[in-house]
């Protein structure tokens, strides 16, 4: 039980730290700050996937990998699964989590909608890193319309 809380606290402190660091620099735009957080997430995801897929059989294809992300991976990280996975079979996937763990602690209304992106940047990085290590290069963005649900858009980059 206590492990979850520790992770959440660490995550929110991490965001706090990065934001405050960036305020010292320039006020150019908030968009830049999140790249640091996203990179931390990328690095984490890249490494953790090695551990998590140790016992798993090999993935057949891309869709299989996505399903793994939605189920086992999400459970391992956030103790629940993704509620909805949609794809257009052309490399775009949308993962919807109706009560995203980091957002559930904030009030569900319009009040914190603006700062919600900060809390999902880390997770975007995690997804991107995990997929990168599995051999799928992609671009991950997140969209928060109603707190606390969150949609992750994954666009696979085909080279």
């Amino acid at each position: 039980m206590s492990d979850d809380a520790v992770f959440e606290f660490l995550h929110s402190e991490l965001i706090n730290y990065i934001i405050s660091q960036n305020e010292g620099k320039s006020k150019e735009g908030k968009d830049e700050d999140l790249s640091n957080i996203e990179y931390i997430g990328f690095s984490t995801g890249y490494r953790i996937i090695e551990r998590l897929t140790k016992e798993m059989p090999r993935f057949k294809d891309e869709l299989d990998t996505m399903k793994f992300i939605c189920t086992d991976f999400w459970s391992a990280l956030y103790k629940k699964q993704i509620d909805n996975l949609r794809t257009n079979h052309q490399g775009v996937y949308v993962l919807q989590d109706n009560s995203f763990r980091f957002l559930t602690k904030l009030s569900s209304g319009k009040q914190y909608l603006e700062v919600a992106p900060r809390f999902v940047a880390f997770t975007c990085g995690i997804i991107r890193g995990s997929l990168a290590n599995l051999g799928i290069g992609c671009l991950v963005t997140a969209e928060v319309q109603n707190m606390p649900s969150c949609k992750f858009h994954i666009q696979v980059q085909r080279t």
């Binding site: 953790i48 996937i49 090999r58």
Partner: protein, 139 residues
């Protein structure tokens, strides 16, 4: 009892190579390099939908006169190769599999090391010691 262990990265360049007998290293490097071809072939042919594909363990890749080469590919496309002396008949499939599992967990540990950048060569003394233990079967 393995004589040689190699970890090959996603781009097929060696990340880690360890031989019990350093003199034979060059020869083993050649053998392992050739076995990569077989690994790739096996990975490609899994499209045919046989059952083997669900396993990470690839089985025996090559049987040379004096050595046997076994392969194992993780989901992240990292390849482990173990070369075993042919004369050692005692080693069975299960033992090889367990060696690979231990190797995989060692590798997972080292990847989680924040100072290790995935893609570089692995130079860690504790990793060396652990791998040598796995190879000699003292773990």
């Amino acid at each position: 009892m393995a004589v040689c262990v190699a970890i090959i990265g996603k781009d097929n360049s060696p990340k880690y190579f360890c031989c019990l007998n350093p003199d034979e290293e060059l020869g083993f490097q050649y053998k392992v390099l050739s076995s990569l071809d077989v690994v790739e072939e096996k990975l490609n042919t899994t499209n045919k939908g046989t059952n083997d594909l669900r396993e990470l363990y690839l089985g025996m890749l090559y049987s040379l006169e004096t050595h046997k080469i076994y392969g194992y590919v993780t989901n992240t496309k990292i390849k482990f190769i173990i070369v075993v002396d042919s004369t050692n008949m005692a080693l069975r499939d299960n033992e090889i599999r367990s060696m690979f599992r231990k190797l995989h967990s060692e590798y997972a540990d080292i990847v989680c090391n924040p100072f290790y950048i995935p893609g570089d060569a692995i130079c860690s003394k504790s990793f060396d010691v652990n791998v040598k233990n796995i190879m000699t079967g003292t773990v």
